[in-house]
């Protein structure tokens, strides 16, 4: 802001040491060759600086994406290598939209995303508020709480699969203390509801710390003066939380929401490990279905259409978040 204000004053301090501007004024408005060359050189330097990253991004992101789009309009089943890679128009998309399996997977993915985000944010906010308070061992707790997030998802999913095992897991052992019938509950594979509960527990266990740490960072930059002012104005804890904490937590919250929503929309590994999409197809999400179409059916045409829809969905959600959390001027 300050820099912009300075630059807005012609001949002001912001112009100091700018040969281009000096040159322009010195030559009656005509661009000075020396300054112009410098600007070109600076621009070129800028382009060159970003070039390696840009090339890398194009190679690993843009190229696969464009190739995937291309594939999605073709017949491309690798199990039929002898058949031509022919143009089929929107046939793969039509097949996908007509597929009840895809529609169900979309519904499940959206529901999973909403539930897991609500769970994560509510619990993580509580955790962050707690860790924001001063108490003995706070530093240790802040470090320890990150451990689940540092564990790879595949490992944490395997861990929870074992914990939910009715024979060797601790969950049934723990629940047996409350009710004898809960001593041998089968969580994965035998019940749709219990399978989802197990997935939510495993997913939240891993991701809540991440959200909590982001929110904690957001809490730490809220000045105490604001709380002080609210207190002087007679605000109680809840009013102060609603009117001060939450609004000032918006930037941190938006970051956490964008990250977690995209992760949840693309959820795959925890489901692949814990339920394999079962019982039946009841825990199959879009990414899982896309994986099956690519890997099991080796259908890169329809698989391409499915994964592109995921990209579109992710972009749409990101756009909505960015609009919703745009800084208010």
């Amino acid at each position: 802001m300050a820099a912009e204000a300075k630059a807005a004053v012609p001949g002001g301090p912001a112009d100091a040491g700018r040969p281009g501007r000096r040159g322009r004024s010195g030559r009656g408005g005509r661009p000075a060759p020396v300054g112009h060359a410098r600007e070109r050189s600076d621009r070129r330097l800028g382009y060159l600086l970003v070039a390696p990253v840009l090339i890398l991004l194009l190679a690993v992101t843009a190229y696969p994406l464009v190739y995937n789009i291309w594939n999605s309009f073709h017949f491309d089943n690798l199990s039929y290598g002898n058949l031509p890679h022919k143009w089929v128009g929107v046939q793969n998309y039509t097949a996908m939209f007509k597929s009840s399996q895809w529609v169900s997977a979309l519904e499940r993915t959206v529901i999973f995303t909403v539930v897991t985000i609500v769970l994560d944010v509510v619990i993580a906010l509580g955790l962050a508020l707690m860790m924001h308070r001063k108490f003995r061992g706070r530093g240790f707790l802040r470090a320890a709480v990150l451990v689940p997030w540092a564990v790879p998802t595949v490992v944490s999913a395997m861990l929870w699969k074992t914990m939910f095992d009715p024979r060797s897991g601790f969950v049934d052992y723990f629940l047996a203390a409350f009710h004898p019938a809960w001593a041998s509950l089968s969580w994965l594979g035998a019940s749709v509801d219990r399978s989802w509960i197990a997935i939510f527990v495993a997913d939240s266990w891993k991701n809540i710390p991440f959200v909590a740490i982001i929110l904690l960072a957001g809490l730490q930059v809220i000045p105490n003066d604001v709380y002080e002012a609210a207190r002087i104005d007679g605000a109680n804890w809840w009013q102060s939380f609603r009117r001060v904490t939450l609004p000032m937590l918006r930037p941190a919250l938006s970051v956490a929401l964008i990250f977690r929503t995209l992760q949840a929309l693309l959820v795959f590994d925890v489901i692949y490990i814990m339920t394999g999409g079962g019982p039946g197809n009841s825990t199959q999400t879009l990414s899982f279905l896309s994986f099956q179409t690519f890997i099991t059916s080796t259908d890169f045409g329809e698989g391409g259409a499915m994964s592109l829809m995921l990209v579109v969905l992710a972009l749409a959600v990101s756009f909505v978040y960015v609009r919703a959390f745009r800084p208010q001027t």
Binding site: A16, G17, P19, R38, S41, D42, L45, L48, L49, A51, P52, I55, L56, F75, N77, L78, S79, Y80, G81, N82, L83, P84, K86, D165, P166, R167, S184, S186, L188, G189, A190, S191, V192, T275, G276, G277, G278, P279, G280, N281, S282, Q292, I295, T296, S297, T298, D299
Partner: protein, 445 residues
């Protein structure tokens, strides 16, 4: 201002220099990667100058992809060493792929899709040959004048697609019914007797946790455990029409074992063969449906020496049941060393080598002639395995089998999670046309 300008210029030059170095380094790395990649690609097709090609003196190196780890891997290495000694002109490089079947298949497919000539020889699950043959990735074995009649016919059938043999039986894993001979004095002769024996055993021995353990997790094993039971009820697994009374009765029986007879816990819905083996070997199950490897595993004292292994007993209108598992060997259609690859397959699938492997690893031979006194002396349970091999039914030989398998896994998994008594019949009726469509799909046509 002048100094500021010169600093900027100097910084600019320094920046440009640093940038030039960075760009040059990046370009060099990329170029090196490309050149390395292209050179390795060039080397792969088995050209004469490559490591996999013919060297001086006509020697050649072939690549053998397999999934064996531990004892199996060691035994393969031992056999390869002996093969190389017997064939000094052929060197074999073993490429150990993932033991996870999905990952294993994906790696092989990537090689085939890119047109790689390696691996020259590869291990294939009994369900892959039809798919590989349809895709043109595997070499027909017709030119090698194979005498397939020497092998168990069910596994030969699994390697045959459109009347052409594409894969050789390497070892043959029939799935059957295990029972505790100390608890069940005479082997059951009907599915109903399995239920009554299991219930009686549960009453008699309080250390048992279940009467029957079987694979009901959502994975391929759920299909083989179903197939083990299927023919006993007169069922056959034809994917173009799965909704048959026999199939409904077989799945219904497994479902009822959980919800009606209460001889199997709901926990089976998460069990694969490892957990099933663990339950049986630990002495927690009176019966279990599993592969021959169970007999070679350490067992609790109560179980040791009290293991019976039989085809699943037939019900009315059925025949004793067993499902075919096992591994085959095939040659990459793009291999530049087909003759050498075939020599290796012949060697690995010969009786003495299969016997040595069976004794060391428990992998049952695919040759009936390999079931010799020598083998029985080392591991008497192979007598049971040979009997089971006479009944073992292959899974559908279909190029779309993996899709069919995914459909069936979903169907079975849904049924095992549904306590309704009509779950099996409803599921088969609902999925019949979708499975038939996936089985007969000829995309792009």
């Amino acid at each position: 201002m002048g100094s500021s300008s010169s600093i900027r210029q100097s910084r600019g030059r320094a920046g440009m220099t640093a940038l030039s170095i960075a760009v040059a380094a990046f370009t060099a790395i990329t170029a090196a990667a490309c050149s390395s990649s292209s050179s390795s690609t060039n080397a792969t097709p088995g050209s004469s100058s490559s490591s996999s090609g013919s060297g001086a003196g006509g020697s050649q190196t072939i690549v053998f992809a397999e999934s064996g780890l531990g004892t199996e891997g060691q035994q393969t290495q031992k056999a390869i060493t002996a093969f190389e000694a017997a064939n000094p002109n052929i060197k074999v490089t073993i490429q150990v792929l993932s033991s996870d079947s999905t990952q294993y298949l994906a790696t092989l497919e990537h090689d085939f899709i890119t047109g790689s000539s390696t691996p020259d020889v590869f291990e294939s699950d009994v369900t892959y040959p039809a798919k590989f043959a349809q895709a043109g990735w595997v070499m027909p074995l017709t030119s090698f004048n194979v005498d397939s009649s020497q092998y168990f016919p069910h596994e030969v059938a699994a390697g045959t697609f459109n009347n052409t043999l594409y894969a050789m039986p390497w070892f043959d894993n029939p799935e059957g019914l295990y029972y505790r001979t100390d608890l069940i004095k005479t082997p059951p002769t009907s599915p109903a007797q399995v239920v009554s024996d299991a219930q009686a055993a549960l009453k008699a021995d309080k250390s048992l946790k279940e009467g029957l353990a079987f694979e009901a997790a959502k994975y391929e094993g759920a299909i083989t455990s179903f197939l083990t039971v299927d023919s006993a009820f007169g069922g056959t697994l034809d994917p173009t029409s799965v909704n048959t009374p026999g199939n409904v009765a077989a799945l219904g029986w497994l479902h009822d074992a959980i919800y009606k007879y209460h001889i199997a816990p709901t926990a089976v819905t998460g069990w694969q063969e490892g957990q099933v083996q663990s339950e049986f070997s630990s002495g927690y199950a009176a019966f279990s449906i599993n592969y021959p490897f169970v007999e070679a595993q350490p067992a609790a004292a109560a179980v040791k020496g009290h293991i019976g292994y039989i085809p699943f007993p037939a019900g009315t209108g059925g025949t004793p049941g067993s499902a075919l598992g096992g591994e085959m060997l095939a040659i990459n259609a793009k291999s530049a060393h087909a003759q050498a690859a075939w020599k290796l397959i012949q060697y690995l699938c010969s009786a003495p080598v299969e016997v040595a492997r069976a004794i060391a690893t428990g992998d049952p031979p695919s040759l009936p002639s390999a079931y010799t006194q020598q083998l029985y002396s080392a591991a008497p349970y192979f007598q049971d395995v040979k009997t089971l091999n006479n009944y073992s039914a292959p899974r559908p030989v279909n190029p779309n089998y993996l899709q069919v398998s995914a459909d069936l896994q979903t169907l079975f998994s849904a049924v095992y999670a549904n306590s309704s008594s009509s779950a099996a019949s409803q599921a088969f009726a609902a999925a019949n046309s979708a499975i038939a469509s996936d089985a007969s799909k000829t995309p792009g046509a």
